[in-house]
Symmetry: C2
Subunit: 282 residues, 2 copies
């Protein structure tokens, strides 16, 4: 018998992987959560039938969502992570000794539970004593916060379902208020390749650009996401991710990473012309 | 009725696209050639069941295989293209007025024929008067050539079947002899992500590095190739693709491109740490 898991990346495109074992399935108030074991990708976490995390390439995502901001401002002390219930973003953050506190706000306790049980590779950072795990809605959590966080990471799913409110003007305005003067906002900024993702990519960037004086977009290659071509947004009131970047400071920390390095930090902001044009057209 | 075309990217991974019409199928002495029409990718050329060219993203491949070399040395006059029977590489080259002659050597006339009929988007450059189309084996063609070409582009399939001899020491040595003093060799250098591709990536780079004093690798994102994370090699006797690069010269040419630009020229050489380590380990 062969078991295959298929993600419908668009109505016309399917990505399928051979499964050794369907380890977990569960339904929360928010979404369907599944964990598979596979030969090619190791353990795979899927939400509502979409690949979220695989043991083979989670390092790409978690390196790029954390280290670009941390290397731009190594003085970051107080961090808010919204989403990212698998724990991979928190795991990378707790490697920085200078970070004093992390509020880790995930709306769906089932994602945390499934990750703790089946994905210790990403969940392992959650138990660090500087991390407060708050199972609640990040949209509500951030309301009213002022001048608190040096870094906010929005580690969200697509803007459908629980992720939707994380792609609004109101949310980005609240992030701006919650950030300190040198604060940085990193957001999951979708993909330029398939039409549905590209539309959300443009919408998110347009909104953030209107809220923040500095708003850049950088790319990374994640083979298990549709097209493999994905983006994060970097927004701030003052710091620029390339002009204010001091590679020697980050390199002096001696952190070993599999994807991120100080060359790719800069290289990731060099976008293909068609992506640049899509972003500028909004 | 629904028609789907599936590429087996590895034994455990399948990429499937919905097909409107199977426009062409044919078998040459070398390989199986198919053309599909699709909603998502436009026309698609497949060889031996593998995606080669799609109308949607061929520009990524053809921009990156030509413009990096042409921008490093805008004085290039005489070019050899081996493979690339779809014509996309030649199409980008003939946009340069400074190029005087292109020898376009493709082993399989059926690929040229199918491309001329179904993919005018890539085949359109073949009729430029500076292009000599030679339907023969590039491995034999290059033997004995000395100090002839300013640029050799090896636009090959994977090192299986007719592409295999394009990944040997002997071939790379012959390329070196055939190049002028400032000559550049660009080769299709596989992918770091899936094991089979990564093995060939390392082998090709190891050989080229031993033959050429300058040997670098750069990346591009091609969603219809396995993992989307693909590489070209840049080798030469003298010119370095970043240190000898003068962006203002290329920008003054006023060529419009959809993927390539002078920022991504530099950014593409910034490789993820794990890819850098794989390449250096050989």
């Amino acid at each position: 018998m062969e078991l295959w898991f298929t993600e419908e990346q668009t109505d016309n495109v399917r990505f399928s992987i051979k499964v050794k074992e369907h380890l977990f399935t569960g339904k929360s108030d928010f979404q369907q959560v599944d964990v598979f074991d596979t030969d090619e990708f190791g353990k795979v976490l899927a939400i509502d039938g979409l690949f979220m995390v695989t043991e083979k390439d989670e390092f790409v995502y978690h390196d790029m969502i954390t280290h670009v901001a941390m290397a731009t401002n190594p003085q970051i002390k107080n961090v808010l992570v919204i989403g990212g219930g698998d724990g991979g973003t928190v795991r990378e953050l707790v490697r920085y000794k200078g970070i004093e506190h992390i509020d880790f706000v995930e709306i769906d306790g089932l994602v945390i539970k499934a990750s703790r049980e089946y994905l210790p590779i990403t969940a392992c950072g959650m138990d660090d004593e500087r991390v407060d795990i708050l199972v609640q809605d990040g949209i509500e959590f951030i309301k009213g916060k002022e001048n608190v966080y040096d870094l906010i990471i929005v580690d969200s799913t697509d803007p459908i379902g629980p992720g939707e409110g994380l792609f609004t003007y109101e949310f980005y305005e609240n992030c701006k208020k919650a950030l300190t003067e040198n604060g940085i906002l990193i957001n999951q900024n979708e993909s330029p390749y398939y039409e549905g993702n590209a539309k959300e990519m443009k919408r998110a960037h347009k909104k953030i650009k209107e809220v923040f004086p500095i708003s850049e977009v950088y790319q990374y290659i994640l083979p298990t996401y549709p097209s493999g071509h994905w983006l994060f947004g970097f927004a701030s009131k003052k710091l620029h991710p390339v002009r204010d970047f001091k590679p020697e400071v980050w390199n002096s920390l001696g952190l070993k990473t599999k994807y991120y390095n100080t060359d790719i930090h800069v290289g990731a902001f060099a976008l293909p012309t068609y992506v640049r044009e899509m972003l500028d057209s909004e």
